[in-house]
């Protein structure tokens, strides 16, 4: 049911803040490695541990990635932007402030478009600014343990307008941005490890109203499915509260996927005074128009454009184009299969059915596929040349998946070459007819449904290698007698 009808007289208003971890080698403001899975506190230095007097330096690549993302989001890039201190006191941030951007962010006023439920949505991007991540705290009851490996890892915070009107649409927006940052190769997109975090701001109002009501922020959501479920829960909770005359409190709530509900975090209303001011340790970040334009020129083709191209260039249906462009790696793989096979339709069928099924079953990503794209392409070419039948190709595919061998090698070794020799097929047909006199008589007596039986017997006799087209034709002729 669409959110139009599902929430009755109420209209949800949703905005999402996405924290994208920019995949640089070194941190945002110091030269430690961003490989934070290393030993505890093995990626820290005097800057990210907040030692007195230590000064931050700014990572060029992080800025480039941020600008590229901003451009892809249709933002204008500020030629002079400023880093500010956001003060809050928490042990995972030993300086006592986070370096972020406040009134002069790097990217502003963008727009993200995506197709949802057949219609094009356009969501405002208010801003995207660069900041540093905090460390990781583990709470143990009588103490908290702090690992600062993650402190100062670069983040781009992308803030959408309150333009989303339902849980599914909100999740689709998040998926769209997720696809984009992967296409841009600025983020590894791993939600579970926190490389891509969605904080959802949800409020509800009476349909027809234009004012924004008090919003609740939901944090701690690590999958797109949970984005949807958490928002759904929160909308219903707020509607219930409003119906019973309760006031919605501005608060941060956490989503618990096991219970499928949100619950209030310990209130931190006191902490909302961040007392931003320009960081005196960092000079303004100035980019020239030429620098910004050269980054724009380097932008890759984005998912929506690529899907449109797949439709026009390869004549694929819209749905197939969307599936194939869902991940950049998959789209790249598909295009390699096309160029090796010269058959886009077959390439899309094999990738979307056989390959995706095997990848799902074995929980592998496309880049971990044991079958390289070129080989799948070669296999399709073997079908098109008539060397193997489509049925045999499934055997070849399975063998490529397990052994990693080239398709020609498998066809040779296993003797899978399609039988297109008329006399060999004729011999098999004769044998089958001789062995099944009753069925033959029945067929000739009008039970034409038995045709399939004969095809099956001939294919069985030839171990599936006979050309199905030839078997069909020759069998029809023979059965007529």
């Amino acid at each position: 049911m669409s959110s139009e009808t599902r929430f009755g007289a109420y209209e949800p208003v949703i905005g999402i803040e996405i924290h994208v971890q920019l995949q640089t080698r070194s941190k945002m403001f110091c030269t430690d490695s961003t490989a934070f899975a290393s030993g505890d506190n093995e990626c820290v230095c005097e800057v990210c541990t907040g030692m007195p007097g230590a000064l931050p330096t700014v990572n060029r690549t992080a800025i480039e990635y941020a600008v590229k993302t901003g451009l892809a989001l249709g933002c204008s890039i500020r030629e002079k932007s400023v880093f500010s201190r956001k003060q809050y006191f928490y042990p995972d941030l030993p300086k006592g402030y986070q370096i972020s951007q406040f009134d002069l962010p790097l990217c502003e006023n963008g727009r993200v478009e995506f197709v949802y439920n057949g219609s094009k949505k356009s969501i405002e991007i208010i801003r995207a600014h660069v900041e540093e991540d905090a460390g990781k705290s583990t709470h143990q009851g009588d103490c908290s343990l702090i690992n600062l490996n993650r402190a100062s890892v670069p983040l781009l915070e992308i803030v959408s307008g309150p333009d989303l009107r339902g849980p599914e649409e909100a999740a689709e927006y998040a998926r769209t941005v997720h696809k984009m940052v992967q296409y841009l190769e600025v983020c590894d997109g791993n939600l579970e490890e926190g490389s891509f975090r969605c904080d959802c701001n949800v409020s509800v109002r009476k349909r027809g109203e234009t004012k924004l009501n008090t919003r609740v922020e939901i944090k701690n959501i690590n999958s797109f499915r949970f984005v949807e479920k958490a928002i759904e829960y929160e909308i219903l909770r707020q509607i219930d509260a409003m119906e019973s005359g309760e006031k919605i409190r501005q608060e941060t709530r956490l989503y618990d996927p096991d219970k499928n509900r949100t619950f209030a975090m310990r209130s931190k209303e006191e902490a909302h005074d961040y007392r931003y001011f320009p960081d005196p340790d960092l000079l303004p970040l100035v980019l020239t128009k030429a620098e910004i334009e050269s980054m724009r020129a380097k932008l890759p083709e984005m998912p929506l454009a690529r899907a449109a191209r797949f439709q026009s260039e390869y004549k694929l249906p819209e749905y197939d184009s969307q599936v194939l462009t869902a991940e950049k790696d998959l789209a790249d793989y598909f295009e390699k299969v096309v160029s090796a096979s010269g058959n886009a339709k077959a390439a899309s069928n094999w990738v979307m059915t056989e390959l995706l099924r095997e990848l799902n079953d074995s929980k592998k990503t496309v880049s971990q596929s044991p079958i390289p794209a070129e080989r799948l392409g070669q296999m399709i070419a073997l079908i098109d040349k008539g060397t193997i039948s489509g049925k045999i190709a499934k055997t070849v595919f399975a063998e490529m998946w397990t052994s990693g061998k080239a398709p020609e090698v498998i066809v040779q070794e296993k003797g899978l070459v399609q039988i297109t020799d008329t006399s060999a097929i004729e011999k098999s047909i004769d044998e089958v007819l001789a062995a099944n006199p009753k069925e033959l008589a029945d067929y000739r007596g009008g039970k034409e449904k038995l045709f399939g039986f004969f095809v099956g017997q001939v294919m069985k006799a030839t171990k599936g290698q006979a050309s199905p087209d030839m078997v069909n034709q020759m069998l029809k002729a023979k059965l007529k007698g």
């Binding site: 506190n41 541990t49 006191f89 709470h139 103490c143 908290s144 005074d273 100035v286």
Partner: protein
């Protein structure tokens, strides 16, 4: 501040009351006694009074200054440089657990 004729301590009543100071102290995790709150409220009010003077300057059309120099940021190449092992930082810590910093509980 430039004008020595204006003695801030003699100027108007404190602009910062004790409860505002208490709130700022709370945000900064500073524990202050009642007497300290009182005296700091007075001192900070004097500081504010000095800044009030600056606020009298007409700044219309003047771009807010972020930094007093014309220098702009130099960007650093994205290279990892590792200088010290974890131990170098942990040995400064009041408490630790393995190679993690151990701090009083932050979630109740």
């Amino acid at each position: 501040m430039a004008n020595s004729k204006t003695d801030p301590s003699s100027s108007a009543s404190p602009r910062l009351d004790k409860s505002t100071v208490a709130k700022v102290a709370e945000l900064s995790r500073l524990k202050l006694s009642d007497a300290e709150l009182e005296s700091i409220a007075q001192q900070l009010s004097m500081v504010l009074a000095n800044f009030e003077q600056l606020a009298q300057v007409n700044t219309q059309g003047v771009e807010p200054m972020v930094t007093p120099t014309d220098l702009t940021l130099r960007l650093r190449e994205d290279r990892v440089e590792r200088r010290e092992p974890a131990e170098a930082f942990l040995e400064n810590a009041p408490d630790r657990s393995g190679n993690l910093f151990k701090v009083p509980p932050v979630v109740g």
